[in-house]
């Protein structure tokens, strides 16, 4: 990076952090710290919800995903708009009427303490691990740019986010996220334009898409139903719907964002905005990856994008074998470049026969190229069995730092930092909320002062921040980060969603039945994942259905043996929500 990039990066980050800190000054209560006094307008809610979901991983991994796997990942988001509608109709009114701090508070009155505690615990486990991954992602960038050990950059990134979140709370999170999303949108549009601009003059935007399409990257929609196919229309709509409903409806990092809305209407509008904008935004990010793929048909791509691993093998006993792979890759690149040029001529001339012949030729060359990459990975592992052999997360960064103009590099790196700060801050804020509201205030100090809870929230943020840093140290073992986060979510979200859907729609099922069903469902989901029983998106559906069906069966069974417990059987509900809850259940 040049000094201009460093100035752009530092000015962008410092000004946004200062703005957030300034806007969140004078915080005195836990309601301010955790929910920004529930006074934010819809566009704050919408942008905050989007910024929380769009972590640095989105901007590092997703273009890499587009590059290696094409556009098909977009189908993962098809369930999101549907989930937003269900949340607006069902979840928001219930949460807002009860005036809860966390989603899990609702479960205490509807079921009992143990169900609330189990759900909050599953959330803390899942969110703690996921937030660790979101800290690790930008640490890769610092590590690559500054050539510093990844462990130090992880500590630096995690430490900065902790300080900022501990001071600012939910208000700072929301105000900074609003600015962050503005910069992110403009930066992404500019980056997409730059990639097209960097293509040879005779290659138009549509030509770039044709080239990518002929090589299998424009696979936006796959209508074939296949349980083992990770991304198709059906897994996206059905599995994605359950995953997004679980994430936005039961994950406190999101619930906490729309609870900051000043009314039901403002919270709903924020989610509707997310439902309308998310898919086009994600499409643009994947498209950038696909365009980078086309760009590398005219510029030779490295055999492997992770420079750290490459430099290790270049100084090893396998140096000669590595250089041979690079030579083969160079020969394939020249052949491919010629084929691409012939394809463009055929496209411009409307020569369908030539187009088809070049498509086959390109696919063949790409297959050979993939073989070279596989051989490269095998060689890296031969040299070092613990090598990080997934370079998807380095593809976009490598392109940005090598080919984009001065200034834009700094801006794009700032975007990745901002995205990370936004989602990590939301994650830490929600972890603190669940810890203090669902455990500390209920089990340890039920009648303490506002300042005690505020202090506990801040300490809890610090504690979770440290936990997430430790997780981040091990995140490099997880491969593609955006998939790792979604797989991790899918292991827990189905069960948690099942508990909430039973709470909302199965009024005769009690706490003990749903508690046992949730334990069984979670054990089954872990088993299904360990044994590769199905693609991960389906785990959300299955987990949710197992909880609902099993809870009903247990309730019937216990009724038949005369030991059925009525819903809300545990009357030792928190006094804080008891009065509000009774109003709701009487309605």
């Amino acid at each position: 990076m040049t000094w201009i990039d460093w100035i752009v990066l530092c000015v962008t980050l410092v000004s946004i952090i200062l703005y957030g800190v300034w806007k969140s000054r004078g915080m005195r209560t836990i309601e301010s710290f955790l929910l920004a006094d529930r006074q934010l307008p819809w566009y704050h809610v919408g942008l905050s919800v989007m910024a929380t979901q769009a972590s640095a991983i989105t901007f590092i991994s997703a273009p890499g995903q587009g590059y290696t796997d094409g556009m098909r990942f977009i189908q993962f988001y098809f369930g999101l708009p549907l989930a937003m509608v269900v949340l607006c109709i069902t979840f928001i009114p219930k949460f807002k009427l009860l005036n809860v701090f966390t989603a899990y508070e609702y479960l205490e009155k509807r079921f009992d303490n143990k169900t609330r505690s189990l759900t909050a615990f599953l959330f803390l486990l899942q969110r703690g691990l996921s937030t660790g991954i979101t800290i690790y992602a930008p640490a890769i960038i610092l590590s690559t740019i500054l050539n510093i050990d990844i462990n130090y950059t992880t500590l630096l990134m995690g430490g900065l986010v902790i300080i900022y979140t501990v001071y600012g709370g939910a208000k700072a999170v929301s105000y900074t996220q609003m600015l962050q999303m503005g910069i992110i949108f403009s930066g992404l549009i500019f980056a997409a334009w730059m990639v097209v601009h960097l293509l040879p003059p005779e290659v138009q935007f549509s030509d770039a898409l044709h080239i990518a399409g002929k090589m299998g990257k424009m696979n936006v929609i796959d209508t074939k139903f296949d349980l083992n196919n990770k991304y198709n229309l059906w897994s996206g709509i059905i599995g994605g719907f359950f995953l997004q409903l679980s994430y936005f409806g039961t994950d406190q990092s999101q619930v906490g964002r729309y609870l900051t809305g000043r009314s039901v209407a403002q919270s709903r509008l924020g989610l509707i905005m997310n439902g309308l904008v998310k898919i086009p935004m994600q499409f643009l990010i994947l498209m950038i990856g696909v365009l980078v793929f086309t760009f590398y048909q005219y510029h030779q791509a490295p055999v492997f994008f992770n420079k750290t691993e490459v430099s290790k093998i270049e100084t090893s006993a396998y140096k000669a074998e590595w250089q041979e792979l690079e030579r083969t890759s160079g020969t394939l690149f020249k052949a491919r470049e010629q084929q691409v040029n012939t394809l463009i001529q055929a496209l411009h001339a409307g020569n369908k026969g030539g187009e088809d012949s070049m498509r086959k030729g390109l696919q063949q060359t790409e297959k050979q190229n993939q073989e070279v990459r596989k051989a490269a990975v095998a060689l890296l592992l031969k040299n070092n069995p613990r090598a990080d052999v997934n370079d998807t997360n380095y593809i976009f960064l490598s392109f940005v730092t090598k080919y984009l103009p001065v200034g834009l590099v700094g801006l794009l790196i700032a975007i990745i930092f901002l995205a990370s700060m936004g989602s990590t801050a939301s994650g830490l804020n929600s972890l603190a909320s669940a810890t203090v509201i669902d455990f500390y205030r209920r089990l340890i100090k039920p009648q303490a002062s506002a300042s005690t809870y505020l202090r506990a929230s801040r300490w809890s943020t610090v504690g979770w921040g440290l936990f997430c840093i430790v997780v981040a140290f091990y995140a490099h073992k997880l491969g593609n980060l955006i998939e790792a986060v979604n797989i991790l979510g899918s292991l827990f979200y189905g069960t948690i969603l099942g508990i909430f859907l039973v709470a909302f729609y199965m009024k005769k099922v009690g706490g003990t039945a749903v508690f046992i069903a949730a334990l069984v469902a979670e054990a089954f989901i872990i088993f299904a994942w360990l044994t590769n029983l199905m693609a991960f998106l389906w785990l959300n559906v299955i987990g949710c259905l197992v909880v609902m069906v099993l809870a009903q069966l247990i309730q019937w069974g216990s009724g038949a043996f005369g030991s059925a417990q009525a819903p809300g059987e545990d009357k030792k509900a928190s006094p804080v929500i008891a009065s509000e809850a009774s109003k709701y259940f009487e309605n």
């Binding site: 098809f78 509608v85 607006c88 109709i89 044709h210 424009m218 039901v264 509008l269 439902g275 086009p280």
Partner: protein, 38 residues
């Protein structure tokens, strides 16, 4: 509280329909996009 009117549009039902219609439109668009460029 849930009867509160939306600040834009005449009813919540219409807004929800709009969200689903936009999704359906995008899926159709993406389908033709896939066919055209592949």
């Amino acid at each position: 509280m849930s009867d509160e009117k939306p600040p834009v549009g005449k009813s919540w039902g219409r807004l929800y329909t709009l969200v689903i219609a936009v999704l359906a439109g995008l899926i159709v668009l993406f389908y033709f996009f896939t066919r055209y460029f592949s």
